[in-house]
């Protein structure tokens, strides 16, 4: 139905406009580089627009789009950064010289396992609730909770050590 199709396209566009910054930030946490993250988001949305007729409304549209963005970012990372071990370097991200603590946090966040880092960004940057994060990543809510707890613990311990 063309009207339904147009409505769905409208929903996708709204999501893009409202959440663009969140999508780029989360993609950057995977790719490790802002420009590639933007590219990944553009590619993901292009793919979502192209395949929107495949979308079955048995899950929220937002979760479907988030999955597309995360997958696109992972593909980008595989393609351009074979050695990428979560190199989220602050100077590379915003182009400004970060302060010492921000740099430390960047390094620590970069050192987190990918799932913890991703969940950290989905929770605290994109402000998604546990259930939505679980839907997006295809894990249990308990896993989201445990991963966030582990990420917090790692960061707290490491920052204490740094500042000692």
């Amino acid at each position: 139905m063309p009207s339904e199709d147009n409505a769905l396209l409208g929903e996708i566009e709204s999501l893009y406009r409202e959440r663009f910054a969140d999508f780029v930030a989360v993609a950057a946490s995977i790719v490790g580089e802002r420009e590639s993250a933007r590219e990944a988001v553009q590619d993901a949305f292009a793919s979502v627009v192209r395949t929107r007729r495949d979308f079955r409304r048995d899950a929220p549209l937002e979760a479907w789009v988030w999955r597309a963005v995360i997958n696109a970012a992972r593909r980008k990372r595989r393609r351009y950064a074979l050695e990428a071990q979560a190199r989220v370097a602050a100077p590379a991200m915003n182009g400004n010289a970060p302060d010492q603590e921000a740099s430390e946090v960047a390094t620590l966040v970069a050192a987190l396992p990918e799932r913890q880092r991703l969940i950290l960004f989905l929770r605290y940057y994109a402000d998604l609730d546990y259930l939505r994060i679980a839907e997006i990543l295809g894990v249990r809510v308990g896993t989201v909770s445990a991963s966030l707890h582990a990420a917090h613990r790692t960061l707290r311990r490491a920052l204490n050590e740094v500042s000692r």
């Binding site: 893009y16 663009f20 802002r34 988001v41 949305f45 793919s47 921000a102 960047a106 966040v109 940057y125």
Partner: protein, 493 residues
């Protein structure tokens, strides 16, 4: 650092982007879809192909006594069945584990060795344990070839690329190596070794690492001396992304020369009389003579014919044998596609042999199904049992499919994953008129009805009674298939 501070830090790291470019998204979406076809070449296959060429150079000696491991004595009936299907039945030994991979050697009774790498999966439910197979990438090879000085490495890596990629990548670098091999290296685009991985306990793995522009692999001893080279950048490149022009100073190692295998002068004929079977069902009569199957579709209706013939004008037909291994019955068979005519004759072939009468039944599948509550039901379009066992199998398989297809149906998702609070009656009402709520998980609904029971801890039991009287069930716990007796009848995971 509390949550608010953490949030602030993340925003400092990633200052919010300005608005995106929606027009760019639409432009990209209108472009021809980027081909996702991946062209992969199995190096293992290349190795075997190279070996088949033969060489004037003699095998310079074998390395014996390698690959001793821990016997694997807990093979499931399904694993044993699959091994017999792939002609690799034998004694299995676990050689090593690396990260989440396990390396196995299978000693076949004919002396050949098969080498397999599989994933290690933990915390499996009883159903998952029954369904799993531990053997992923597997290759069987003449022990005179590997392990030997001429071929000290059996590598399972492959090349992968997309059309938009400038060059291919070597991925999945893992395999088995003979004793003197200390490292396995990769020859890069500049014809030097750009990456290497250590060999421990005769196995190696580089995990998911991919190496763009790789030209081949080398085996190195503990002093870095090159023991063996497999350069794949030779001859005409199959695509621009694949390197050509050789590997510089790394020249391909010569393949071993093996004594020629004596070839039979005349084709071997099966011993004994040719078995002939006849049967009919669903308007189709079938005659099987040895390996040849002849199906006469003259009696089918126009509606059935419409469902039987695919868009390309072909139809899929084949026969099955029921094989019982370790107390579990599985169907073994080969199906082939042929242009549809009133009389279709096929001779299914398998490299593993054994595709001859007697069969337990033959079927032709239709263009429908795999969705729960499909109006066409859960039987194949044409089912012709040739034995009593085959008749029972078809009857039970149809019921098993009903349960299995429900378990993965969209309509069942809300129940399976507890997206809404359901009770047994409300779940039955949510699904279909022919679904009954069960009072106890051990209850069985009348024939033709599907029973559902929901209990604490998100336990769900689906039950049906087959026309044979057998009670078939599927139990889920927290959304995961926990226990079932559908294995061998329907794919459920």
């Amino acid at each position: 650092m509390n949550e608010i501070q953490l949030r602030d830090r993340l925003f400092e790291l990633f200052p919010p982007e300005s608005d995106g470019d929606w027009d760019d998204v639409l432009r990209r979406s209108a472009l021809p879809r980027r081909s996702l076809r991946r062209f992969s070449l199995l190096l293992a296959a290349a190795l075997l192909a190279t070996l088949a060429v033969g060489s004037a150079l003699a095998l310079s000696g074998r390395l014996g006594g390698l690959f001793q491991g821990t016997p694997v004595n807990d093979l499931s009936p399904r694993e044993r069945f699959l091994m017999s299907e792939l002609d690799m039945s034998g004694k299995v030994e676990l050689i090593a584990t690396r990260n989440s991979h396990a390396f196995y050697v299978i000693r076949r009774s004919d002396g050949r060795l098969c080498y397999s790498i599989g994933d290690i999966r933990k915390n499996l439910t009883p159903a998952q344990r029954e369904l799993r197979t531990r053997f992923g990438s597997t290759g069987c090879i003449d022990p005179r070839v590997f392990p030997s000085k001429a071929v000290p490495v059996l590598d399972y890596s492959y090349y992968s690329y997309r059309r938009s990629d400038a060059e291919s990548r070597l991925v999945g670098l893992q395999g088995f190596a003979a004793d003197p091999v200390a490292r396995v290296g990769v020859i890069g685009r500049d014809k030097r070794i750009v990456f290497s991985v250590a060999v421990e306990n005769n196995v190696y793995t580089a995990g998911k690492k991919g190496i763009a522009g790789a030209r081949g692999i080398v085996a190195l001893d503990d002093e870095g001396k090159v023991l063996w080279v497999q350069c794949t950048a030779i001859g005409r490149s199959p695509a621009p992304q694949f390197p050509s022009g050789g590997c510089g100073r790394y020249k391909n190692s010569p393949p071993p020369k093996l004594p020629p295998t004596p070839q039979p002068k005349t084709p071997t004929k099966p011993s004994g009389p040719i078995v002939v079977q006849r049967g009919s069902g669903d308007g189709v009569s079938v005659v099987v003579r040895g390996a040849q199957i002849e199906a006469d579709f003259a009696g089918i209706s126009a509606e059935k014919r419409r469902l039987l013939v695919y868009k390309n004008g072909g139809t899929v037909i084949g026969c099955i044998k029921l094989v019982t291994v370790g107390g579990a019955t599985n169907a073994s068979g080969v199906y082939v596609s042929r242009p549809f005519t009133t009389v279709v004759r096929v001779r299914p072939w398998s490299p593993y042999g054994g595709r001859r009468a007697p069969f337990d039944g033959c079927t032709a599948s239709g263009r429908y199904g795999h969705t729960w509550n499909d109006v066409h039901g859960t039987h194949d379009l044409v089912e012709v049992p040739l034995t009593a066992k085959g008749r029972r199998y078809f009857a039970e398989r149809a019921v098993a499919r009903d349960l299995a297809w429900l378990a993965r149906a969209r309509v069942f998702k809300a129940v399976r994953y507890a997206q809404r609070p359901f009770t047994s009656p409300s779940a039955a009402a949510h699904l279909a008129e022919r679904v009954d709520a069960l009072v106890r998980p051990s209850d069985t609904p009348p024939a033709g009805r599907l029973g559902i029971w929901l209990g604490p801890d998100r336990r769900i039991v689906l039950v049906e009674r087959a026309p044979t009287g057998r009670r078939l069930f599927l139990e889920l716990r927290r959304g995961v298939i926990y226990r079932t007796n559908l294995i061998g009848l329907a794919g459920v995971l």
